[in-house]
């Protein structure tokens, strides 16, 4: 006899949880937190043992674990320490305060979005040029590719200095650094996307004697939309990295990058980690937002569900 798993309520629930996304997501998150806690104990233990011995305190294993998870300047802060710090600096401060993480996130976000918009336009324009003018592919592509082999960390101060010399300060130089990272995936994706129409679709529009402009708007561009969204997801995350890097050489005045730098000057590891975690959350949210936009657009374009 075979038993029907759905007839047993507890087994049915377990099946449902692990058949969907909930189970795997919970399992992976739990594993990450466990590894993080174990790492925190292990990495913070030497300093703690040293402290116990100097104070000549008898200590047990449970004392050690407890103390390693509440140090002021741990090598690796525990997750709850970071979350408490985030809670304090996100919800506990006025958003105009320099101590508010919301304020710093706002600064970084405006740089990110400006860089993303410029980068997407630039990346798209380059792709359109490359697809339509064969000479541009040969002359531009090597520069575009080698531009990405230069570490942005080395280039960022140069960009700040050069743009500063021509009078550009503040938001724009940082956005340009962000643009520098994010135009690339858009160019690569859009070149592929604009070339994705099959020969039959191209022949068809040729028999209508469509000009290049019409071929672009009625065939190439709509064909490239799925590629565009894939590129935008990579580009927005790259924009955020660029924005953070761009904040470092400007004297660490404001933004998540400034928090990272200030934190490392003063050994405030908890501050560093909360800035890192905030940046990661913001990036994930922006990628998710583009994902929603993608779903909506593709549905409007009649993609088979």
């Amino acid at each position: 006899m075979t038993t029907n798993p759905a007839s047993s309520p507890s087994l049915g629930l377990a099946n449902r949880v692990f058949a969907g996304n909930v189970g795997p997501i919970v399992a992976i998150s739990a594993a990450i937190f466990m590894i993080w806690y174990a790492g925190a104990v292990y990495l913070n233990a030497p300093w703690q043992i040293d402290k116990f011995e100097r104070a000549k305190i008898e200590w047990s294993m449970s004392d050690l674990v407890e103390e390693t998870l509440k140090q002021d300047r741990p090598v690796l802060p525990a997750p709850h320490q970071v979350l408490v710090e985030m809670n304090k600096t996100i919800f506990g401060k006025k958003i105009t305060s320099k101590r508010s993480l919301v304020f710093h996130t706002g600064v970084t976000l405006s740089t990110t979005l400006l860089g993303f918009v410029i980068g997407t336009l630039l990346g798209g324009l380059l792709a359109v040029g490359i697809v339509h003018v064969p000479a541009l592919e040969k002359s531009l592509m090597p520069w575009i590719i080698s531009s990405q082999t230069i570490p942005i960390l080395a280039l960022a101060p140069m960009i700040i200095v050069v743009l500063g010399a021509v009078g550009l300060k503040g938001l724009v130089p940082k956005a340009i650094i962000s643009t520098y990272l994010c135009f690339f995936p858009v160019t690569i994706g859009m070149v592929k996307g604009l070339r994705s129409p099959n020969p039959l679709q191209m022949d068809l529009i040729r028999t209508y004697s469509a000009d290049k402009w019409q071929t672009f708007w009625k065939l190439r561009f709509p064909s490239s939309i799925p590629f565009l969204f894939a590129s935008l997801k990579v580009a927005i995350a790259a924009s955020l990295v660029g924005a953070i890097v761009g904040e470092m050489p400007t004297g660490a005045q404001a933004g998540l990058g400034a928090r990272l730098l200030a934190g490392s000057y003063y050994g405030q590891t908890i501050q560093i980690w909360s800035a890192l975690l905030t940046a990661a959350t913001v990036a994930a949210l922006m990628v998710a937002l583009i994902g929603v936009l993608e779903k909506y657009t593709l549905r409007r374009m009649g993609t088979q569900p």
Binding site: L200, T207, Y208, S209, G302, T303, Q304
Partner: protein
Amino acid sequence: MKCEKLSLTFETADGPVFALSDIDLQINHGEFISFIGPSGCGKTTLLRTIADLEKSTGGTITINGVSPEQARLKRDYGYVFQSSALYPWRTIEKNIALPLEIMGLPAAEQKARVAKNLELVDLTGFEQKFPWQLSGGMQQRVSIARALCLEPELLLMDEPFGALDEIVRDHLNEQLLRLWDKTDKTVVFVTHSIPEAVFLSTKIVVMSPRPGKIIDVIESGFPRDRTLDIRETTEFLEIAHRVREGLRAGHSYDD
């Protein structure tokens, strides 16, 4: 349409490929011409040359007295491909309107022509559907409507029903014939099915490969309003036999 000593050679890495050689052919207004032959005989290439999708490398070809390029620029023909080549992000209505949008016709005129041609291929009511929601045969009918809405004198069809099953194909053949009878267009039709060619055509052009050339041109005298029943007649079988003989002769030195 007229071609004289038409030839086309593709230069490839392994040396030249003679896709077409010394094609002499005249097509008169209102005819239904089929090109038939084995794959690689250049029948599709010949059709693509008429449509200015390939350029001939020798000889002359004119369509209503002008070159294929001028004919294409004037949108003198409608082309139906082996597969429907519908744009998946456009609804059926928008797919049919595509050539009209490119021509820049006013919206009202576009709407009227789309409605008229959808009715002609018996697909009224599917305007708002997307291509994937239609069967293969329906998609091909949409592509015929799209070619017709240009209101061309000349309809070029490259194995339009090749990918469909026989029952659907028979049905579409009959529909196509009625359409041709009603609209008085010239149709050039590429196929590798003998019954299809004999049933549809007023003139059958038999071709052979390497180099692509014409072996035989067979006139058939069936009435314009013929039905699928003629396929049982002796006259039909005789013409089919002659086509088969021609194809065999073209192949004989191949083995």
